[in-house]
Symmetry: C2
Subunit: 158 residues, 2 copies
């Protein structure tokens, strides 16, 4: 399966909305935030606070990644999320997006990528995904998202 | 020394700018971010993303605190910073602001306060300040702000 990665543009908004919805991983508030971040990001280009890249399979955007420079740091970036359509799960689309983001960050002088994710059992797949890619757990905030739902922080030195 | 705490308004901007400058704790970029956060915060009121309260001593604002609800969480808030004028250091102004913020968060349904600070030796006073107030270290991201300058995460359950 050929995966082509390209920068997302304003016209990709419906596709992004569809992906967030189809993934089933986002609450209504999270989807709203993700779309606000998209709207701000596509305005700013890759120098802006939020870079957005999509993965196309057979010409259809079936996943995207959002990341950006961390304000008030010299060379730290945040990986906000990788979202992929269930129909391409386990086919390497998420991995391609993660690797693309890392390469982009490296090329732009970034030295590390930080991400936050939920510590709930349903996120075991996500933890495995990032651990396999070399991310190390650097913190955990109990009951962060809600009671029983910790925030787990990961960092990868690029 | 009597300390009166009140919500900051747009007209307090020059005072806030002066405090950030006088404290000597902020880089130019950090001051810019702090003022952007102030501008956004005083528009939104206490329901907005950033609440700002100032401490007056003899009618002059000599310290302020910025905090707010953490998006996509049920009851987590972030304490962004407490900034006080060197002339009131060690006089309880910072402590009064921290306690005020905690009480405010509690009253608004918040269950925990998270904060990030530098792990550099020069910040030992800051770490002591928060540890004494019951904040626990929950994470550390190496070389986060710059090489040799870690981010230390603290959390207090209210």
């Amino acid at each position: 399966m050929g995966v082509a990665i390209r920068e997302l543009v304003r016209e990709d908004r419906p596709a992004v909305h569809g992906l967030l919805d189809a993934s089933g991983a986002f609450t209504a508030e999270e989807m709203q935030v993700a779309l606000e971040v998209f709207d701000e990001g596509v305005d700013g280009g890759t120098d802006g606070p939020y870079a957005h890249f999509g993965a196309e399979v057979e010409g259809i955007v079936c996943g995207y990644v959002a990341f950006g420079r961390t304000p008030m740091t010299e060379a730290t970036w945040h990986l906000y999320w990788i979202c992929t359509h269930p129909r391409v799960w386990r086919s390497g689309v998420g991995r391609a997006l993660q690797q693309y983001a890392e390469e982009f960050v490296r090329k732009h002088g970034g030295r590390s990528l930080v991400l936050e994710t939920s510590g709930q059992p349903g996120y075991a797949r996500v933890h495995k995904f990032y651990r396999q890619a070399g991310y190390e757990e650097v913190g955990r905030i109990r009951d962060y998202y809600k009671r029983g739902d910790d925030c787990v922080l990961y960092c990868k030195v690029l």
